[in-house]
Protein backbone atom coordinates (compact mmCIF):
# COMPACT_ATOMS: atom_id res chain seq x y z
CA UNK A 1 0.00 0.00 0.00
CA UNK A 2 2.89 2.35 -0.74
CA UNK A 3 1.32 5.61 -1.94
CA UNK A 4 3.05 7.09 -5.02
CA UNK A 5 3.52 10.83 -5.51
CA UNK A 6 0.45 12.38 -7.12
CA UNK A 7 -2.25 10.54 -5.17
CA UNK A 8 -2.32 13.03 -2.27
CA UNK A 9 -2.68 16.81 -2.37
CA UNK A 10 -0.06 19.11 -0.74
CA UNK A 11 -2.05 19.96 2.40
CA UNK A 12 -2.43 16.25 3.13
CA UNK A 13 1.14 15.16 2.46
CA UNK A 14 2.69 18.20 4.14
CA UNK A 15 0.63 17.53 7.26
CA UNK A 16 1.62 13.86 7.27
CA UNK A 17 5.28 14.72 6.63
CA UNK A 18 5.16 16.92 9.74
CA UNK A 19 3.37 14.32 11.87
CA UNK A 20 5.74 11.57 10.72
CA UNK A 21 8.84 13.70 11.33
CA UNK A 22 7.72 14.47 14.88
CA UNK A 23 6.79 10.89 15.69
CA UNK A 24 9.93 9.41 14.16
CA UNK A 25 11.97 12.01 16.08
CA UNK A 26 10.30 10.84 19.28
CA UNK A 27 11.03 7.22 18.34
CA UNK A 28 14.71 8.03 17.78
CA UNK A 29 14.86 9.75 21.17
CA UNK A 30 13.08 6.94 23.01
CA UNK A 31 15.15 4.26 21.28
CA UNK A 32 18.45 6.00 22.00
CA UNK A 33 17.57 6.18 25.71
CA UNK A 34 16.64 2.54 26.21
CA UNK A 35 18.52 0.66 23.48
CA UNK A 36 20.58 -2.32 24.62
CA UNK A 37 23.68 -3.46 22.76
CA UNK A 38 22.27 -6.85 21.79
CA UNK A 39 19.19 -5.40 20.18
CA UNK A 40 21.20 -3.59 17.48
CA UNK A 41 21.97 -6.66 15.30
CA UNK A 42 18.38 -7.85 15.77
CA UNK A 43 17.13 -4.51 14.40
CA UNK A 44 19.42 -4.82 11.40
CA UNK A 45 18.37 -8.37 10.57
CA UNK A 46 14.71 -7.49 10.97
CA UNK A 47 15.07 -4.55 8.56
CA UNK A 48 16.72 -6.84 6.00
CA UNK A 49 14.12 -9.56 6.47
CA UNK A 50 11.12 -7.21 6.32
CA UNK A 51 12.52 -5.64 3.15
CA UNK A 52 12.98 -9.05 1.53
CA UNK A 53 9.55 -10.28 2.63
CA UNK A 54 7.91 -7.12 1.26
CA UNK A 55 9.18 -8.05 -2.21
CA UNK A 56 7.16 -11.25 -2.20
CA UNK A 57 3.79 -10.27 -3.57
CA UNK A 58 1.23 -13.03 -3.24
CA UNK A 59 -1.95 -13.17 -5.32
CA UNK A 60 -5.20 -12.45 -3.49
CA UNK A 61 -8.37 -12.06 -5.51
CA UNK A 62 -9.15 -11.03 -9.07
CA UNK A 63 -5.81 -9.97 -10.52
CA UNK A 64 -4.71 -8.33 -7.30
CA UNK A 65 -1.68 -9.04 -5.16
CA UNK A 66 -0.61 -8.11 -1.68
CA UNK A 67 2.55 -8.27 0.32
CA UNK A 68 3.72 -8.48 3.90
CA UNK A 69 4.30 -5.13 5.64
CA UNK A 70 5.87 -6.20 8.93
CA UNK A 71 5.10 -3.33 11.30
CA UNK A 72 3.44 -5.54 13.90
CA UNK A 73 6.20 -8.15 13.68
CA UNK A 74 8.81 -5.44 14.28
CA UNK A 75 6.78 -4.09 17.21
CA UNK A 76 6.35 -7.48 18.87
CA UNK A 77 10.05 -8.33 18.59
CA UNK A 78 11.58 -4.90 19.21
CA UNK A 79 8.95 -2.72 20.85
CA UNK A 80 6.94 0.29 19.62
CA UNK A 81 9.73 2.83 19.14
CA UNK A 82 12.55 0.64 17.84
CA UNK A 83 9.93 -1.04 15.61
CA UNK A 84 8.81 2.32 14.23
CA UNK A 85 12.43 3.25 13.60
CA UNK A 86 13.22 0.06 11.67
CA UNK A 87 10.04 0.33 9.60
CA UNK A 88 10.77 3.99 8.83
CA UNK A 89 14.24 3.15 7.50
CA UNK A 90 12.77 0.38 5.32
CA UNK A 91 10.15 2.74 3.86
CA UNK A 92 12.64 5.57 3.23
CA UNK A 93 15.10 3.27 1.45
CA UNK A 94 12.29 1.74 -0.62
CA UNK A 95 11.28 5.22 -1.80
CA UNK A 96 14.82 6.45 -2.48
CA UNK A 97 16.40 3.37 -4.05
CA UNK A 98 13.46 1.45 -5.48
CA UNK A 99 10.85 4.13 -6.26
CA UNK A 100 8.35 2.18 -4.16
CA UNK A 101 6.27 4.91 -2.58
CA UNK A 102 6.66 8.59 -3.41
CA UNK A 103 9.09 11.15 -2.02
CA UNK A 104 6.70 13.99 -1.12
CA UNK A 105 4.31 11.43 0.38
CA UNK A 106 7.08 9.73 2.36
CA UNK A 107 5.51 11.01 5.58
CA UNK A 108 2.16 9.50 4.61
CA UNK A 109 3.74 6.10 3.97
CA UNK A 110 5.78 6.28 7.18
CA UNK A 111 2.62 7.24 9.05
CA UNK A 112 0.45 4.50 7.55
CA UNK A 113 2.93 1.63 7.72
CA UNK A 114 5.59 2.45 10.34
CA UNK A 115 3.73 4.53 12.91
CA UNK A 116 0.35 2.83 12.65
CA UNK A 117 2.05 -0.53 12.08
CA UNK A 118 4.56 -0.53 14.90
CA UNK A 119 3.65 2.23 17.36
CA UNK A 120 -0.13 1.85 17.34
CA UNK A 121 0.26 -1.85 16.51
CA UNK A 122 2.29 -2.46 19.64
CA UNK A 123 -0.38 -1.05 21.94
CA UNK A 124 -3.21 -2.83 20.11
CA UNK A 125 -1.20 -6.04 20.51
CA UNK A 126 -0.67 -5.42 24.21
CA UNK A 127 -4.36 -4.67 24.74
CA UNK A 128 -5.53 -7.79 22.94
CA UNK A 129 -2.95 -9.97 24.68
CA UNK A 130 -3.78 -8.71 28.16
CA UNK A 131 -6.50 -11.23 29.14
CA UNK A 132 -4.41 -14.20 27.92
CA UNK A 133 -2.13 -16.02 30.29
CA UNK A 134 -0.65 -18.71 28.03
CA UNK A 135 1.59 -18.69 24.94
CA UNK A 136 -1.50 -19.25 22.85
CA UNK A 137 -2.47 -15.67 23.63
CA UNK A 138 0.72 -14.42 22.00
CA UNK A 139 -0.14 -16.09 18.71
CA UNK A 140 -3.82 -15.17 18.79
CA UNK A 141 -3.03 -11.52 19.60
CA UNK A 142 -0.29 -11.37 16.96
CA UNK A 143 -2.70 -12.75 14.36
CA UNK A 144 -5.57 -10.39 15.20
CA UNK A 145 -3.32 -7.33 15.51
CA UNK A 146 -1.53 -7.97 12.21
CA UNK A 147 -4.80 -8.33 10.35
CA UNK A 148 -6.38 -5.36 12.08
CA UNK A 149 -3.41 -3.07 11.46
CA UNK A 150 -3.43 -3.82 7.71
CA UNK A 151 -7.14 -2.96 7.57
CA UNK A 152 -6.65 0.21 9.66
CA UNK A 153 -3.67 1.35 7.56
CA UNK A 154 -5.53 0.78 4.29
CA UNK A 155 -8.58 2.63 5.65
CA UNK A 156 -6.33 5.54 6.57
CA UNK A 157 -5.00 5.55 3.00
CA UNK A 158 -8.61 5.75 1.78
CA UNK A 159 -9.29 8.67 4.15
CA UNK A 160 -6.14 10.48 2.97
CA UNK A 161 -7.17 9.95 -0.67
CA UNK A 162 -10.61 11.36 0.14
CA UNK A 163 -9.21 14.39 1.99
CA UNK A 164 -7.01 15.00 -1.06
CA UNK A 165 -10.15 14.91 -3.23
CA UNK A 166 -8.59 12.13 -5.31
CA UNK A 167 -11.59 9.88 -4.82
CA UNK A 168 -14.78 9.87 -2.74
CA UNK A 169 -14.53 8.24 0.68
CA UNK A 170 -17.76 6.31 0.14
CA UNK A 171 -16.14 4.30 -2.65
CA UNK A 172 -12.49 4.37 -1.53
CA UNK A 173 -13.04 3.11 2.01
CA UNK A 174 -14.92 -0.13 1.24
CA UNK A 175 -12.61 -0.80 -1.71
CA UNK A 176 -9.40 -0.34 0.30
CA UNK A 177 -10.59 -2.04 3.47
CA UNK A 178 -12.17 -4.88 1.48
CA UNK A 179 -9.10 -5.90 -0.50
CA UNK A 180 -6.83 -5.40 2.51
CA UNK A 181 -9.03 -7.58 4.69
CA UNK A 182 -7.81 -10.36 2.38
CA UNK A 183 -4.18 -9.20 2.25
CA UNK A 184 -4.28 -8.89 6.04
CA UNK A 185 -4.78 -12.64 6.36
CA UNK A 186 -1.42 -13.14 4.62
CA UNK A 187 0.14 -10.54 6.92
CA UNK A 188 -1.26 -12.31 9.98
CA UNK A 189 -0.10 -15.77 8.87
CA UNK A 190 3.45 -14.56 8.13
CA UNK A 191 3.69 -12.64 11.41
CA UNK A 192 2.53 -15.63 13.45
CA UNK A 193 4.83 -17.94 11.44
CA UNK A 194 7.92 -15.84 12.15
CA UNK A 195 7.05 -15.43 15.82
CA UNK A 196 6.53 -19.17 16.17
CA UNK A 197 9.93 -19.75 14.56
CA UNK A 198 11.75 -17.19 16.71
CA UNK A 199 10.10 -18.54 19.85
CA UNK A 200 11.24 -22.04 18.94
CA UNK A 201 14.88 -21.33 18.01
CA UNK A 202 15.60 -18.27 20.15
CA UNK A 203 13.00 -17.93 22.92
CA UNK A 204 15.31 -15.48 24.71
CA UNK A 205 14.76 -12.95 21.92
CA UNK A 206 11.06 -12.88 22.71
CA UNK A 207 11.76 -11.70 26.22
CA UNK A 208 14.33 -9.08 25.21
CA UNK A 209 13.43 -5.72 26.77
CA UNK A 210 11.15 -3.86 24.37
CA UNK A 211 12.04 -0.34 23.32
Amino acid sequence: MHIPDGFLDPKTWITLDAVATGTVGLSVYKTSRKLRERMIPLMGVLAAFIFAAQMLNFPVAGGTSGHFVGGVLAAILLGPFAGTLVMTVVIIVQALLFQDGGIAVLGANVFNMAIVGSLLGYYIFRAIKMPFKSDKGLYISAFITSWLVVVISSSLVAIQLAISKTVALAVALPAMAGVHALIGIGEALITVGIITLVKKVRPDLMSIEKV
Binding site: L42, A52, H67, V171
Partner: protein, 100 residues
Amino acid sequence: MMKKFVIIGLIVSAALVLLIAPFASSWPDGLERVAINLGFIEKGEGLPVLRSPMPDYMLNFIKDERLSTILAGLVGITVMFLLVYVIGLLLKRRQNMEKN
Protein backbone atom coordinates in the same frame (compact mmCIF):
# COMPACT_ATOMS: atom_id res chain seq x y z
CA MET B 1 24.83 -16.17 20.10
CA MET B 2 23.62 -13.05 18.36
CA LYS B 3 26.13 -13.47 15.56
CA LYS B 4 24.69 -16.83 14.57
CA PHE B 5 21.15 -15.46 14.61
CA VAL B 6 22.20 -12.53 12.40
CA ILE B 7 23.90 -14.80 9.86
CA ILE B 8 20.92 -17.16 9.71
CA GLY B 9 18.51 -14.22 9.46
CA LEU B 10 20.44 -12.72 6.56
CA ILE B 11 20.67 -16.10 4.79
CA VAL B 12 16.92 -16.59 5.14
CA SER B 13 16.30 -13.08 3.76
CA ALA B 14 18.66 -13.71 0.83
CA ALA B 15 16.98 -17.06 0.18
CA LEU B 16 13.57 -15.35 -0.02
CA VAL B 17 14.96 -12.96 -2.63
CA LEU B 18 16.77 -15.70 -4.56
CA LEU B 19 14.06 -18.34 -4.54
CA ILE B 20 10.72 -16.58 -4.24
CA ALA B 21 11.09 -12.93 -5.35
CA PRO B 22 11.59 -13.79 -9.06
CA PHE B 23 8.27 -15.64 -8.95
CA ALA B 24 6.34 -13.12 -6.85
CA SER B 25 2.99 -12.01 -8.22
CA SER B 26 3.28 -9.08 -10.62
CA TRP B 27 -0.39 -8.26 -10.30
CA PRO B 28 -1.18 -4.76 -9.01
CA ASP B 29 -1.22 -4.54 -5.22
CA GLY B 30 -4.27 -3.60 -3.16
CA LEU B 31 -3.89 0.18 -3.52
CA GLU B 32 -3.00 -0.05 -7.24
CA ARG B 33 -6.04 -2.27 -7.85
CA VAL B 34 -8.32 0.24 -6.14
CA ALA B 35 -6.68 3.10 -8.09
CA ILE B 36 -7.26 1.25 -11.38
CA ASN B 37 -10.85 0.31 -10.55
CA LEU B 38 -11.76 3.77 -9.29
CA GLY B 39 -9.94 5.49 -12.15
CA PHE B 40 -7.22 7.53 -10.46
CA ILE B 41 -4.15 5.40 -11.21
CA GLU B 42 -2.81 7.91 -13.78
CA LYS B 43 -2.44 10.50 -10.99
CA GLY B 44 0.50 8.53 -9.69
CA GLU B 45 2.15 8.07 -13.04
CA GLY B 46 3.71 11.48 -13.48
CA LEU B 47 7.46 12.01 -13.63
CA PRO B 48 9.03 10.81 -10.39
CA VAL B 49 10.18 13.58 -8.03
CA LEU B 50 13.49 11.78 -7.80
CA ARG B 51 14.98 9.16 -10.08
CA SER B 52 15.63 6.00 -8.13
CA PRO B 53 18.54 3.81 -9.16
CA MET B 54 16.46 0.60 -9.01
CA PRO B 55 12.83 1.42 -9.85
CA ASP B 56 10.43 -1.50 -9.37
CA TYR B 57 13.16 -3.54 -7.69
CA MET B 58 15.07 -3.93 -10.95
CA LEU B 59 18.55 -3.05 -12.12
CA ASN B 60 17.71 -1.73 -15.56
CA PHE B 61 21.12 -2.48 -17.07
CA ILE B 62 20.43 -6.18 -16.58
CA LYS B 63 18.18 -7.65 -19.26
CA ASP B 64 17.13 -10.83 -17.48
CA GLU B 65 14.20 -9.76 -15.27
CA ARG B 66 14.61 -12.49 -12.71
CA LEU B 67 18.33 -11.91 -12.26
CA SER B 68 17.67 -8.17 -12.12
CA THR B 69 15.11 -8.61 -9.32
CA ILE B 70 17.41 -10.94 -7.38
CA LEU B 71 20.35 -8.52 -7.53
CA ALA B 72 18.22 -5.52 -6.59
CA GLY B 73 16.85 -7.52 -3.67
CA LEU B 74 20.31 -8.51 -2.47
CA VAL B 75 21.47 -4.89 -2.69
CA GLY B 76 18.39 -3.90 -0.67
CA ILE B 77 19.01 -6.50 2.03
CA THR B 78 22.62 -5.34 2.40
CA VAL B 79 21.66 -1.66 2.56
CA MET B 80 18.87 -2.30 5.09
CA PHE B 81 21.03 -4.35 7.42
CA LEU B 82 24.05 -2.04 7.35
CA LEU B 83 22.03 1.17 7.58
CA VAL B 84 19.93 0.06 10.54
CA TYR B 85 22.97 -1.50 12.23
CA VAL B 86 24.94 1.75 11.92
CA ILE B 87 21.97 3.81 13.13
CA GLY B 88 21.74 1.45 16.11
CA LEU B 89 25.43 1.89 16.90
CA LEU B 90 25.14 5.69 16.65
CA LEU B 91 22.14 5.74 18.99
CA LYS B 92 24.00 3.53 21.44
CA ARG B 93 27.01 5.84 21.31
CA ARG B 94 24.81 8.85 22.01
CA GLN B 95 23.32 6.99 24.95
CA ASN B 96 26.77 6.19 26.34
CA MET B 97 27.90 9.80 25.91
CA GLU B 98 24.86 11.07 27.79
CA LYS B 99 25.54 8.68 30.63
CA ASN B 100 29.09 9.98 31.11
